[in-house]
Amino acid sequence: METNPHIASQLYTNAQNIARPEGPQSSGSTLFADMANDFMATMQAGESAAIAGLTGKADAQTVVEALAASEIAIQTAVSVRDRVVEAYQEILRMPV
């Protein structure tokens, strides 16, 4: 089978362009900082709603909504942390 190296390299370049993510790139550390800030805000909203509920200043559905939101935020954070730690361990176990 006859192969043309020029065409092959062109196809390879095209494939690279497809695989490259589009849009403005934000660095991973900024994304993680945003995520952590969102998490903090959700947790603080949950805590203040719980305090307001216990002191009778908020109604039950507000407390339940805020607590469910913080529960989901905790689940997300814990799951992501577990996956990240697992990935690091996988890298550490890699034979060099």
Binding site: Q61, T62, V64, E65, A68, A69, E71, I72, Q75, S79
Partner: protein, 130 residues
């Protein structure tokens, strides 16, 4: 805000609206025998902000029902006029109880929706854990 969490907050707004409605019903029932009391009614409105929290419900202003108040014959009543009549309240207990039951059913429906979106979020996070 993701779709699931915004559906949770929409359901919470529905529950808050039904709770406010039930409060009005209990005020009406408590004042069913108060002379001259006008039944309180409240309308629900969709929140007009289409993008951030469209679809949420909020309660409108409380209005007094303009239904005619019955003239009750009780000459011994302190508020009775010279003919022995006084003005009763226009609260109909049948209507109030039906309204309360409707508020309860609607609250339960919103609660089910809240629980369902919470369960859906939890079960998609379960996928990350194995």
């Amino acid at each position: 805000m993701s779709d699931l969490s915004s559906s949770m907050s929409t359901s919470a707004s529905g529950m808050a609206a039904q709770a406010a409605r039930l409060r009005l019903v209990s005020e009406n029932i408590a004042n069913a025998d108060t002379p001259g009391f006008q039944r309180k009614v409240m309308s629900f409105e969709a929140v007009s902000d289409m993008f951030e929290n469209g679809g949420r419900v909020q309660t409108g202003p409380v209005q007094l029902s303009s239904a005619e108040r019955p003239q009750v014959f009780d000459p011994g009543h302190p508020m009775a006029d010279e003919n022995g009549y006084y003005q009763g309240s226009n609260v109909d207990l049948m209507i109030e109880i039906a309204d309360a039951r409707e508020a309860q059913r609607s609250y339960e429906a919103n609660l089910k929706m809240f629980d369902q979106s919470r369960q859906m979020t939890s079960s998609i996070l379960e996928l990350l854990r194995r």
